[in-house]
Symmetry: C2
Amino acid sequence: MKSYSFAEENYLKSIHSLSFGQPEGVSTNSIARLLNTKASSVTAMIGKLHTKELVSYEKYKGVTLTPEGEKIAIGVLRKHRLWEVFLVDKLDFKWDEVHEVAEQLEHIRSVQLTDRLDKFLGEPKFDPHGDPIPSSDGVYRENQPTCLLSDLNVGDQGVVVGVLDSSKEFLRFLSDKDLLLGTQFSVVKLFEYDESREIKFDDRTESLSQRVSTNIKIKRL
Amino acid sequence: MKSYSFAEENYLKSIHSLSFGQPEGVSTNSIARLLNTKASSVTAMIGKLHTKELVSYEKYKGVTLTPEGEKIAIGVLRKHRLWEVFLVDKLDFKWDEVHEVAEQLEHIRSVQLTDRLDKFLGEPKFDPHGDPIPSSDGVYRENQPTCLLSDLNVGDQGVVVGVLDSSKEFLRFLSDKDLLLGTQFSVVKLFEYDESREIKFDDRTESLSQRVSTNIKIKRL
DNA sequence: AAAAAAAATTAGTCTCGTCTAAAAAAAGTC
DNA sequence: GACTTTTTTTAGACGAGACTAATTTTTTTT
C-alpha cells in the first residue's frame, strides 16, 4: 500500500471536489483558491501528481483525476466524514465546529482504524452536514444542494441536515419525534389542503405540518 | 496559543522520555537512536528548540527541557495515551497494535478535542500499557517499570498491564474476575503458606493463587 | 599525560512544498 | 484580426528537516 503526503492528499481531495460537473478538467486557479496557495504552487504539485499517475494533465488544459487518484481522494473524504460523525455523535461537537479538526484527522493512515471507526459509529451513511459517506470500496453518490422538506413531493427521499428555526422549542419537538440530523426519510403523502406531509423513516410514519416542513433543511437522495 | 510542528513535538517528547533520572541532560546520540535519525539532525533541531526557549542547551553538554518545553511534551504524551485508550476500549484494538496509530493521533491540534475525548473515555488514569495519563494541567507521576504481581507485598499498590500466560483459559479466568488491563488494586493479605494473595480492587476483595500472581504483569503505583 | 575511541558539531547537499517575479499562452474585446 | 486582460507556466529562491562527510571536543584507555 503506497502512502501519500498530507499535501498530496489535500490536492487530490480538492481536485475531486471541484470536479463535480467539470468533465473538461479543473482549473489551476480554482485549486489555488480552495487551498489558499498560489497558482504556481498548484502547477508544481500537478506535475508531481501527474508523474505518479494520479491525475491526467495537459499544459494549459485542466486536470482530472485518474481512477487511482480518485480512489485516494474518496478514501480521504470517507475518513473526513467518518471523523465528523465521531466528533458530533460521540464528543458532542456542534456540527459547525468539526471541519477544522476533521481536516487533520482525515490524514491519519491506518486502514484498520478507518474500518473500525466505521463499525463503532454504526456504519453511518451520512455525515453531520448530510453529505454521504463513501463505503470502504469507494462507492457513494454526492447528493443535491440543501433545500427544504417542504420542497419535496410524494415519493421523494431526503436526509435531514439542519433547521431554519433553531429555537429550543422546535429542536425539542424534533427530538421528541426522533427527527435527528442524518435521519433518512421518504415522503409518502402530501395533503394539498393544509400542505401537511406524511413522511416515513425508521419504519415509522409521522405527519408534519407545513410550519414544520418549511423549517427543516434537507438534501434530496 | 503557539503551535509546533510534528517534528518539534516528537523531539520534545523524546527528550522528555529520556530525561527520567538524567538531571545532567539528555545526550544527542540517545535522541537520534530513539527517533531513528542521525546525530547531526538532532543537533540542528536542538538549536532550533533552544532559540524558541523550549530546551536548555550548552554545546557538548546535554539538553534538558525548559518548563515550557516540558509542558508541550506532557501535552503530547497526554494525547498519545488518551488515544491509546480510545483505540483499545472503543475500537477493540489489541494493546500492542495501538502505538503506531497513536503516534499520528497525538499531533492533532485541538484543546477541545483532547478534553472532550478525555471525558468521553471516562477520564481514565492509565493507558492500556499501564502508564499514567497526565491531567489537562500537566500533572502526573511516571511509574515504575513492569514487574509481577507476585513481587508485591502487603500494602503495595499496582495496576495490571499484561500477562505472561496468554492462553485462552487464563485470559478467560481474568475476565471472569474482572481483572482487566488497567485495573488498579492493592495487596491486602499475603499467605506465606501457599504464596496466595488477597487483593482489593473496585471495592471487592479477591484471592489469587501463586500460579495466578506470577502470570500477571503489573506496575507499582 | 598521550594516544585512541566515541560523541557531538559544522559544513554542505537534498527533497518537499511553498513563494515572487517574469514570461508565455489562452480568452475576451473592440 | 489586433489589443488587452486573465490564466497558467517557468525560473529562481527559501525554510523545514533530513542526510553524508569532515572536523572538533570529550571521554576512555593505557
